[in-house]
Structure formats: C-alpha cells, structure tokens
C-alpha cells in the first residue's frame, strides 16, 4: 500500500507539498533537472511494452472499487464534482485505457507499435528497404485547464508513451486528480513516476512559467484563446508548442430518431451528455438541434429531456457551484423566463429550489452559448444544413457534434460536418467519452510531439 492509514499521499511531487509551501523558479528548475535526468536514466531503456503495461495497470487500479487510489479520488469534497458524477467520468475514461487501445494508438500514430524502441518498417516501407523510429521531446511542460481532469490525464499518458519527462502545471485548486494519476503510476513503476512532476499555481505567474518554459523542450497548453496567445508569446524560440483553445459542441437529432420510442432513448442519451462532468468541458453540448417534421416536435423533445435530467440528477447529482457560478445560471434562467413569458417560442423547465438542471426550448435557431453547469438549449432545425447556418458564428470553434441518425444517414451527415469544420462526430450519449486515440481538435494524438529518424538500407 503506498499511502498511510489516514489516506495521505507521500510527498513525491511539488503538488504534494502543504499549501503554505512557496514555489520558486529555483524549485521549478531543480524539479525539471531531476525529471530530465530520470528520463535519461530510466525511460530511454524501458521497452514500449513495459510502459503500456504500466499505464493499463494504472487504469485498472482506477477502475477497481477497492483500490485506495479510487477511494481517495472519490472522497466527497475533493473536487467540484459529486462522487457519483466523478465515478462515472472516471469509469468511462479509464475503461478506454487498455493495453490493446494503447498499442493501437501507437500504430495509428506511427504506423507501427514499436517505433519508439528501434527502427521498424511497415510493409510499405519494407518495399523500399526503409525503416524508421521516432523520438519524443526530453521534457514536456503541460499547462492544463482547470475544468475536467481527462485532458490532463491524456496529456500525461501521451507524454509517457513518447517517453518524455513531464512537468504538469495545474490551475489553482485543480491538481488533485492529476496528482493521483502520477501517484498511481509511481506505485506501479517508480521509474516512470520519477519522470513526472505535478505542481499547481495560479496561471500567469511570469517568473515560475518563464523558468518552466526555459527548461522545457515542448509546451502544451489548454485554455482560453487569449491565454494560449499569451503563453505562445512568452515561449523562447525553438520550443515546440501545442495549444488547445476554446471549443464548443452541440448535438443534432434527425427525425428518423424522433419516433415516440426512439425519442425517449435519444433524450436519455442527450441527458447523459449534459450531465457528464457537469457539462464543464468543451466536448459537452451547449445545445441540441432537433429536426422538425417528426411526430415528436422539438418542444416535446425538450420536455422529455427535462424529465430525463430530473431523473439523472437523483443518481448523479451536479456538484456544488460557487455563488458566482450559480448566479450565472440564475441570471440565464431569469432571462429565458422573461422571454418565455412573452413569447410562445420559448419554454423553460428547471429543477426546483436549486440550479441543478435547466432545459430551454427556444425556436430562435441561432446558436447560443449555454452558461453550462447542466443548462441546455433545445432548438428546432429543418435539416443539418440549416442548423449549421444557424451555428455559423461558432464555425471553426466546434469540437464535437453528436448525432442521432440511422446507420445509413450517418456517413453523409459526417461528411457534411467534416467539410463545415467539425473535428469530431460521435453518437449521442458519447460526447464526453471519446476513445483514447481521439484526435483532439483534429490534431494527431502523438505525432506532433516526435521527431522521425529514417533509416535506409
């Protein structure tokens, strides 16, 4: 057992230090030097299989209800999520992390799962008597956003797959889950754990970040576009950079899926998309467009979605909001309430005596941002083309579109969405549950990190 009876974690990482500990550029520099050294000593000699096995084992531990790491993660009050919502999110995420999926990811990215071990060939390369291997950066710094842990988990897994030392910088108050992942890796394979550092501080600290950027070879950042721009401007030349900016998502339900029986199923799935991670990530839907012309009208669908949200709320309650966050929901509700009272085209369903969930049907088709925290807009659409026209203002900023359509209809709809600029199309109910090999914002998963070495014979 790697932590004591009081479930306190050992001090391996900067984020394990007591809150009063003050980080200095020197500490950041020392930490970077040490993980860089550990990478040299440990990871470069590890076989890919061992890294993959360690990650798959860590995932199994997170899924194991009796494992202390999961029990600690789910202690109430540790994160902004209710234990039930967090448990569901963790189950979805870690059940996707298996030896098979990790090897498949390597093959997807590099054409061969052993590219990082030695020069290898695909059959196509073999024809020309060529082989190739890839090398990851020495040290990656991840500047992570605060809302949900999955993107940070993925960054850490990707970094280990390309065998880099990693410094994970978390937003204030958000290092708990990434820290636990680092500990769970350390527990299984201390050599891998020793190549990770996790720290938290309020973003924008020029001194600390300046030192980190100086030490790192590659920087990834997730956050508001303005934050990314700011980080990019502070990077010394010659550093690799990957930025994941602001994205929104929505759903589209075709009339084929709006028969009475199917609509109920679609509403259940839509509700799952709304409640996952309390709707706080960029894969969460802001709105659902409902195709007109079916027995189930968009407004009836909204009512059904409200019923499903009310039911799911009892199983996976939304986490507590700060007063400021909850005031935003109240203000948004107030706005639509005035609109609903004055127009037949707007209707609102909401949880009573709390801001736990809200559904707004609005016949104005123009895309609107939801205030999130389980607040969803339902809008009518003649067809996908008109829905995309209505969403023109967010074109280029859309991550995921979930669709509910018959099997034959999916391909043409996906083509239409791809050409419009959408980077991920998924079934309804799966918006916050992308596969491990999902190409975030349309970028390759690992390929952006590595340098290729071609070997000709």
């Amino acid at each position: 057992m790697f932590f004591d009876v009081a479930m306190t974690l050992p001090n391996y990482f900067l984020a394990d230090l007591p809150p009063e500990a003050i980080l200095t550029p020197q500490l950041i520099s020392d930490a970077c030097q040490s993980i860089r050294k550990n990478r040299e000593r440990f990871i470069s000699e590890l076989q890919q299989e061992r890294i993959v096995r360690c990650l798959a084992q860590a995932a199994k531990n997170w899924l194991d209800h009796d494992h202390p790491i999961r029990r600690l993660a789910l202690e109430p009050g540790r994160t902004q999520f209710s234990p039930e919502t967090l448990a569901t999110g963790l189950d979805h995420y870690f059940s996707r992390v298996t030896e098979e999926s990790l090897f498949n990811l390597l093959t997807q990215e590099f054409g061969h799962e052993n590219r990082l071990d030695s020069p290898v060939s695909t059959p196509e390369e073999n024809v020309h008597r060529r082989s190739a291997m890839v090398t990851g950066p020495f040290l990656i710094a991840h500047i992570t956003a605060g809302n949900i842990p999955c993107p940070t988990f993925s960054s850490m897994i990707h970094g280990l797959l390309v065998r880099s030392a990693q410094f994970v910088k978390c937003a204030s108050g958000n290092s708990f889950l990434p820290r636990l992942l680092a500990h769970s890796i350390y527990e299984i394979e201390p050599k891998l754990g020793a190549c990770i550092e996790v720290a938290e501080w309020a973003g924008g600290s020029e001194q600390l970040e300046g030192q980190l950027f100086h030490e790192a070879d590659f920087v990834t950042a997730t956050g508001a576009d303005v934050t990314l721009k700011n980080i990019r401007s502070r990077l010394p030349s010659g550093k690799g950079f990957l930025g994941f900016g602001h994205r929104v998502s929505f759903g589209y339900i075709t009339k084929d899926f709006l028969s009475r029986a199917q609509a109920r199923l679609a509403a259940k799935q839509a509700a799952i998309d709304v409640i996952a991670w309390d709707q706080s990530g960029c894969l969460s839907p802001h709105a659902f467009y409902i195709e007109e012309g079916a027995a189930m009208t968009p407004e009836m669908f909204a009512a059904m979605l409200a019923e499903e949200l009310a039911q799911l709320e009892s199983q996976q309650p939304r986490g507590n909001l700060t007063v400021a966050e909850s005031a935003i929901v109240t203000a948004a509700r107030g706005f639509f309430e005035v609109r609903a009272a004055n127009s037949g085209g707007t209707k609102i369903w909401a949880s009573e005596e709390s801001t736990a969930w809200t559904v707004v049907f609005d016949d104005d088709t123009v895309f609107q941002h939801s205030c999130l925290s389980r607040f969803i807009l339902v809008k009518p659409a003649k067809d996908l083309e008109s829905a995309l026209r209505a969403a023109e203002m967010v074109r280029g900023k859309v991550s995921t579109v979930a669709i509910a359509a018959s099997v034959v209809a999916v391909t043409p709809l996906a083509q239409q969405l791809a050409r419009w600029g959408v980077t991920r199309v998924c079934p309804i109910g799966q918006m916050q549950n992308p596969p491990l090999a999902w190409r975030h914002d349309g970028r390759p998963v690992l390929a952006d990190y590595v340098t290729w070495t071609d070997v000709e014979q």
Binding site: D225, V248, S249, A327, E337, R339, L372
Partner: protein, 359 residues
C-alpha cells in the same frame, strides 16, 4: 389611497421619499410597493406576462419580498416600461461592458421628476448633509449634452442645477470613452480656493485623474470639508485595485480626508442609489434610502441569505415608477443585516468551454 394614474403614483412616491426615514416602517413600505406593483403589472406588458407566468398577481402577492424580480440583463432585450412609445420623453442607457447590447430605462416627465426627487434626496443626505451653500460641484464626467443618456450625468446635473460655475470637466473621446479635460479641471480647482468642493465621477475616471496627478500634483490642497463621490467600480473597466488602496490614492492626490470619500452604488435600471457613508462619518456597508430596499438572495434557492453570507443583490426601488420596481442585479454581495457589501459581478466574461480556466 388606491393609485390609478401615473401622476398619483408619482405623487405618492414623492411624498414617501419626503417622509423622515424614522417615520417609515415595513408596513408603509409594503403598502406602497404593492400598489406600485399592481400598476406595473397592468401597464408594463413584459413584466405583467412574467408575473402571470409565475402566478404572482396583485392581490395574491402580500409582501414586497414576494414581488417578482426581473434580471437587469433583460433590459437589453426587452422594453421594460409602463410608458407607451409616444410618451417616452427620454431614456438612460448603459452599454455595460464591451460587445453587449445597451440596457434602456425609459422616462416621461413624471417619472423623471420622481428620479430627480429620489436622487437628490439620497445625494443630499450623504454628500452635502450640512447643505453648505458654498459647496462647488466638479464632475469628471462629460456634460449632459455630450452624454444625454447617462443616468449618472443626469444625476450630477440635477444636484448641481443651481451652480453658476462650470460643473462638468469630462469630454467624450473619439472612441466614445470618457476622458477628463485636465487643464480646465486644474484651473477650476484653483478657482475654488476657499470653497468646499465635491468631486464626482466614475472610479475609472478617478484612476485617470490619479495617473495625471501623479505626474503633475495639485498646487494647493482642497479646502477642509471637500469630498469625493465615486461610483461604478464594478463595471470591469478600472484596473485591478482594492477599494482601500484606491481611496488611499484619491486621498493622497486630492488632499481629501479618507472619510470624505463616498462610494455610490447605482445603475441605469434603478432610480435610487445606495451609499456606503455620509461624508465625514464612519464607512459602513451599502444601504439604500428608505424608499428602496436591497436583499441578498441565494442564487440556488432564491431565499435571503444569512448575515455574512454571499448571494445575488436584488432591489425593490419605489422610485422606479415607469419600469419595474423589483430588480435582480448581476452583482454579488455579502449581506450585513439590511446593508450589503459588493464582492463582484456574475457575468460570463466569455462563453465557457475549455476556456473555463481557474485562476
């Protein structure tokens, strides 16, 4: 008295404003609030519809705390007015922060006179309590002809109506922002030696003024008894500065005693203002005069929070005769009995998504 027309309403509210604060109790406030509610329910269509949807009707609502509140943000998208289009003599508007539609508050001559009665009564109590005839008003804002739709400028013009000397030293910049005509401001101060002055403006303008005075300090200290009224520090425009530090700077650069700096809390959608002190006296939390009442409500439950707890500030303002008397603001505050402390604003800086980064 059963109020039926707008003149009656206006007269009743003005009479209420003129009552000594000690003479007003909850039942008197309640009676007038319910009458005004009944009038607005009938005449303000948008508001009436909202009340109907909440099943909160005159006759059913028994206490002013049950009167349905309207979010101030809805003033951007709806015409919340009891006045027909042809009776709207003027309007005040605030654009809020950038990229937002303006909130409009319409007036006719009757409602405007109630606004003026209300603002003057509140202002006098807090800024010119001794009604010294020699106080000179110096406003950092532009004059009404440059800013005809600013409710703040109208307020300053109203309280300084009898002053012969120039009052306004602000000007409209090419970008629409307000700036200060510093040369004239300096000579006005020099010309006011021997008088107590009352300098008025937005927190944003005072920051500009401090910047200018840092480079070129004032030659002469202001007369004893001079005061400052600053407002609007929560509109997201002033640079990050705590209120205490901000007041310390004002005090140092203008030579005004810190206890003579009064903060006003007001907005376009209201016709009454809260203040945090009477000039020269101890600072306290914000309080409205007796014809308006603020409550701090939990955004989760809609119930009034306990003392010391944070929530959304809601206001019932009897002087809001031509729009809606009950408003839910975007401001967050901490309740201190019947007073409140501002702690911030609850608006989305930008649409959230992955942009939701914790500080």
């Amino acid at each position: 008295m059963q109020i039926t027309d707008s003149i009656d309403v206006a007269e009743a509210v003005k009479a209420f404003i003129r009552l000594p604060a000690e003479a007003v109790d909850d039942s008197k406030f309640n009676a007038l609030a319910l009458q005004l509610f009944a009038v607005q329910f009938e005449r303000n269509i948008v508001y009436g519809n909202l009340c109907k949807s909440r099943h909160a009707l005159p006759g059913i609502v028994e206490h002013w705390t049950e009167i349905p509140t309207v979010p101030t943000t809805t003033f951007k998208d709806f015409e919340l007015s009891t006045l027909n289009t042809e009776n709207r003599m003027t309007h005040f508007q605030s654009s809020g922060t950038t990229n937002q539609k303006a909130c409009r508050h319409y007036h006719d001559s009757t409602s405007l006179s109630v606004y003026e009665t209300s603002l003057a009564a509140g202002f006098t109590v807090h800024l010119t309590p001794e009604t010294a005839p020699s106080v000179r008003f110096i406003s950092l804002t532009p004059a009404p002809d440059s800013a005809p739709h600013s409710s703040l400028v109208h307020m300053i013009a109203t309280v300084s109506r009898n002053q012969n000397e120039r009052v306004f030293f602000g000007q409209l910049g090419a970008d629409g922002n307000w700036t200060i005509d510093l040369t004239s401001f300096r000579s006005a101060l020099a010309g006011s030696m021997g008088y107590s002055v009352c300098i008025l403006g937005t927190a944003f303008l005072f920051v500009h003024l401090i910047d200018a005075l840092t480079k070129l300090p004032l030659q002469h200290p202001l007369s004893v008894g001079s005061c400052v009224m600053e407002t609007g520090g929560y509109k997201g425009k002033t640079r990050e500065l705590s209120k205490a530090d901000f007041h310390e700077l004002i005090s140092r650069h203008l030579g005004i005693r810190p206890n003579h700096i009064v903060t006003e809390y007001g907005m376009t959608e209201l016709s009454s203002q809260a203040y945090d002190r009477v000039t020269g006296r101890e600072q306290c939390y914000f309080k409205f005069p007796h014809w308006a009442r603020a409550r701090v409500l939990s955004p989760e439950t809609g119930l009034e929070v306990a003392n010391g707890e944070p929530g959304i500030i809601t206001i019932v303002d009897l002087a809001n005769i031509a729009s809606v008397l009950a408003l839910q603001t975007e401001d967050l505050g901490i309740r201190h009995a019947d007073r409140f402390e501002l702690i911030g604003r609850s608006q989305l800086a930008e649409p959230r998504g992955c942009s939701l980064m914790s500080p």
